[in-house]
């Protein structure tokens, strides 16, 4: 057999205090789809950053088609035919598809955009990646934007394509389309590496799988020779025990009531088209749906961060339609936002200042001058109670790990004893341990009688936590079903907008 297209041997990369990669090996052959499986923090991203020239390894060698290479910058990697589609797309949204492909192309000052557009159309036809070369990025759906990213790489004649959690933003149906594109590319002699932690996706799309855990290679296996259970064990390092049934509860009084809610998105287009929802005390209402179908706008309206055009939002009978976040907070609404570090927490401030974010108005800190020592003591207690690990109470929180950040955020939001808790993608990007903590805290809040609105793209999480599941598609609620009666296939169809149920909110 000829030399593998990509071979990484004995890769080691150390960051201060962390060994991100330790003697990692990865071999990918032309024509194969290779899954890189591992929990968050397993070292997948670091390894791919090394392969794309973003980081330099402390030790180890990289061979492309048997030749040793030494990437000094991402440019070297691109020239060697390695391209990556990042989880957050690197696209310029006011530019057209063609202009985005043109960005960073080599060549003189002259640029023939018309010829480029024709060439792009050719590439997209060949691989079944439908997209209009003249469209502007902001007009495209997330799935189409992903196609643009792939076209960018194919146009640059990339032979190794790396995709970072490519299906996180897609419906199950769109994901299937993506898999078939990937298969076409593999058939053309490319190698496809995709990073994931979803087992089912691996079994569906990959030819072989390399599992990383704690910065080390656990194994490389062929798909035919393994199953989901074995992969899970290798990924987590122990048998995964799916949490049992959550305790039954009869929901109490309605806390959140939304009627006929309409609102616009940032571009001024309708994002919410008449939402009807209610959440009762001690109930978790899960909202399923592909990201970008109005979930963000929905929670922002409830949190008072986005004006509502029509309709009402009431919490415990009080009307909260005036876009006043301060009043919403006083009404007892806790909010765990999607953007933890940036909206939920202030990256450069310490834990004390971050815990004070919702509490600083409280007169108990003193009338004019705030009693910093009392605030510190209070912060220390919270940090202990929620077992947040950190370098120190004053160290910038951006240095903390994802799991600890979320713990800190939940500590603040829960300590305010909310009547309603909005949790948006609360376990996104967290490892299994941290996810378990988040789930436990949410269930504890449910037991304490808090009404919880949980937005998630992880159906497994919704099935585990929610009492009822609502599906959002293009700003509408496609249906609300009690979790016991929910059917995965139905929910998938509703997520894709193919099915609508009578809503009885």
């Amino acid at each position: 057999m000829s030399a593998p297209l990509v071979e990484m041997r004995g890769i080691r990369k150390v960051f201060p205090g962390v060994v991100a990669n330790d003697n990692v090996n990865l071999t990918v052959r032309a024509g194969e789809i290779h899954a890189l499986l591992g929990e968050n923090g397993a070292g997948k991203s670091t390894l791919m950053s090394i392969l794309t020239g973003l980081y330099r390894p402390d030790a180890g060698e990289i061979y492309i088609e048997g030749r040793k290479v030494n990437f000094r910058s991402p440019r070297d990697a691109i020239e060697a035919g390695i391209g990556m589609v990042h989880q957050h797309f690197r696209l310029v949204s006011p530019f057209t598809v063609t202009e985005n492909v043109a960005l960073g192309l080599k060549g003189g000052l002259r640029l023939n955009l018309n010829r480029l557009a024709v060439e792009i159309a050719e590439v997209s036809r060949k691989y079944g990646l439908q997209v209009d070369p003249q469209a502007r990025i902001w007009q495209l759906s997330v799935g189409e934007q992903q196609r643009v990213e792939i076209i960018k790489l194919l146009y640059r004649k990339a032979r190794v394509l790396i995709l970072d959690e490519p299906t996180a933003v897609l419906t199950p149906q769109e994901a299937r389309d993506l898999y078939s594109t990937l298969k076409k590319m593999a058939a053309e002699g490319c190698a496809v590496i995709f990073i994931t932690h979803k087992l089912q996706e691996v079994m569906e799309a990959a030819d072989s799988i390399t599992i990383l855990r704690g910065g080390k290679t656990v194994a490389t296996v062929k798909k035919e020779e393994t199953d989901e259970k074995e992969l899970a064990r290798m990924m987590v390092g122990r048998d995964v025990i799916w949490q049992g049934e959550k305790p039954k509860r009869s929901p109490g009084d309605t806390v959140l009531q939304i009627k006929g809610l309409r609102a616009l998105n940032d571009k001024g287009l309708p994002a919410l088209k008449g939402i009807e929802l209610s959440v009762a005390s001690g109930e978790i209402l899960g909202i399923a749906g592909v990201a970008g179908n109005g979930q963000r706008e929905l929670v922002e309206v409830i949190a008072g961060l986005r004006p509502c055009l029509e309709g009402t939002v009431t919490v415990g009978g009080e009307n909260l339609g005036q876009c006043d976040p301060c009043r919403v907070i006083q009404c007892g609404v806790g909010f765990v936002p999607e953007d933890r570090l940036g909206m939920g927490l202030v990256p450069n401030l310490g834990a004390v200042d971050n815990l004070l974010l919702k509490e600083y108005r409280d007169p108990r800190w003193g009338r004019v001058l705030m009693d910093r020592r009392a605030a510190r003591r209070w912060a220390y207690e919270l940090v202990e109670r929620f077992q947040v690990k950190m370098a120190g109470l004053d160290a910038p929180v951006k240095l903390m790990s994802g799991g600890n950040l979320q713990r800190l955020l939940l500590a603040r939001e829960i300590s305010g004893h909310p009547r309603l808790l909005l949790a948006v993608y609360p376990s996104r990007g967290l490892d299994v341990g941290a996810t378990e903590t988040v789930h436990r805290l949410l269930l504890e809040q449910r037991a304490a009688g808090t009404a919880i609105l949980l937005i998630s793209e992880d159906l497994e999480e919704l099935f585990r936590l929610a009492d009822r599941i609502a599906v959002m598609y293009e700003g509408e609620i496609m249906g609300v079903v009690p979790t016991e009666e929910a059917d995965l296939e139905d929910i998938g169809l509703m997520m894709a907008g193919a099915k609508k149920m009578e809503v009885s909110a």
Binding site: A59, D324, C326, P337, L345, L349, D353, K358, M370, P396
Partner: protein
Amino acid sequence: MTWIGWEKRLQPSPWMAVVVPVLSVVLALGLGAIFLAATGFDPWKVYLSMLKGATGSKYGISETVVKAIPLMIASLGVSVAFRMLLWNIGAEGQFYMGAFGATWVALTFPHWPAYVMLPAMFIVGCVLGGLWAVVAAIPRARWGVNEVITTLMLNYVAILWVDYLVYGPWKDPQGYNFPLTAPFTEAATLATIPGTRVHLGLLFALTAAVLLTLILWRTRWGYEIRVIGESVKAARYAGMNIERNIILVMFLSGALAGLAGMSEVSGVTHRLQHGISPGYGYTAIIIAWLAKLHPATVILVSFLFAGLIVGGYSVQTMGVPAATVSMLQGAILFFVLGGEILTRYRLHFGRKEVAR
């Protein structure tokens, strides 16, 4: 094969945060030395006599303090706005408006006793400086108009307005046609330390620094300023009123620059005149940046820059051009901004041996 490369630091180096400003000053002096040597001066001698001029005599020290006062007050104002990422480049104009306001009080009510006159000048100076900044703050808060441009443009308006007054209606009839107003009455001048020109403005500056420190780290308002400066999104999420804070902070920033103007006319010149500020408002920006926006550090760095100015005057007798000091100031800022990259990136030389 050797090469030089950059590597991003995982977190800004706290060590570099101290080294960079100090090194910037040294490099700027080095650059100045090359320039001086090229124009036929002995840089060592020039720097030594600058140092002597600024700190070598009671007179020199007193002059350095006198120059430091407006720099400190204006720079405290600039730094509080910068902390909220409001790029108030208009301290110069706000300084002029403060000086204008104080002068208006002094010239319009010459019979007022000091205990009425000085507080009135203080308040009017602050309010006018503050309002001048608010002129730029309102469009910024409402429609996101870039305050860099508006505050900068308003400088020219303020300076020309004062010029109009001192060349026209307010010109001192006994002033031999110089562009200056009539001198203030005794009641309108700030007390000085006997035997020096150091005036009460020093107390304003130090008090302002203490108050600002307390406001920023011990009050709810200061907490809001710090949060908004770091993340507007988080501030909105926490229910803070961003628009109101933009206007309030710009007012405070402008009011401090205005106070610097008031203390300059009332404490040093005792009249309003053309070119009352030789660019204090701009130097204040450099100081604020060099001091990392920290009130206590602003005080220290202001003395350094005041020393530079006074030292610059003293070497003019050697034939060294007056512009040398401006050049040194510019070079310091240049190196500080350039050096910022060192706090975020690590420079490494040569190729690391790949070990197995």
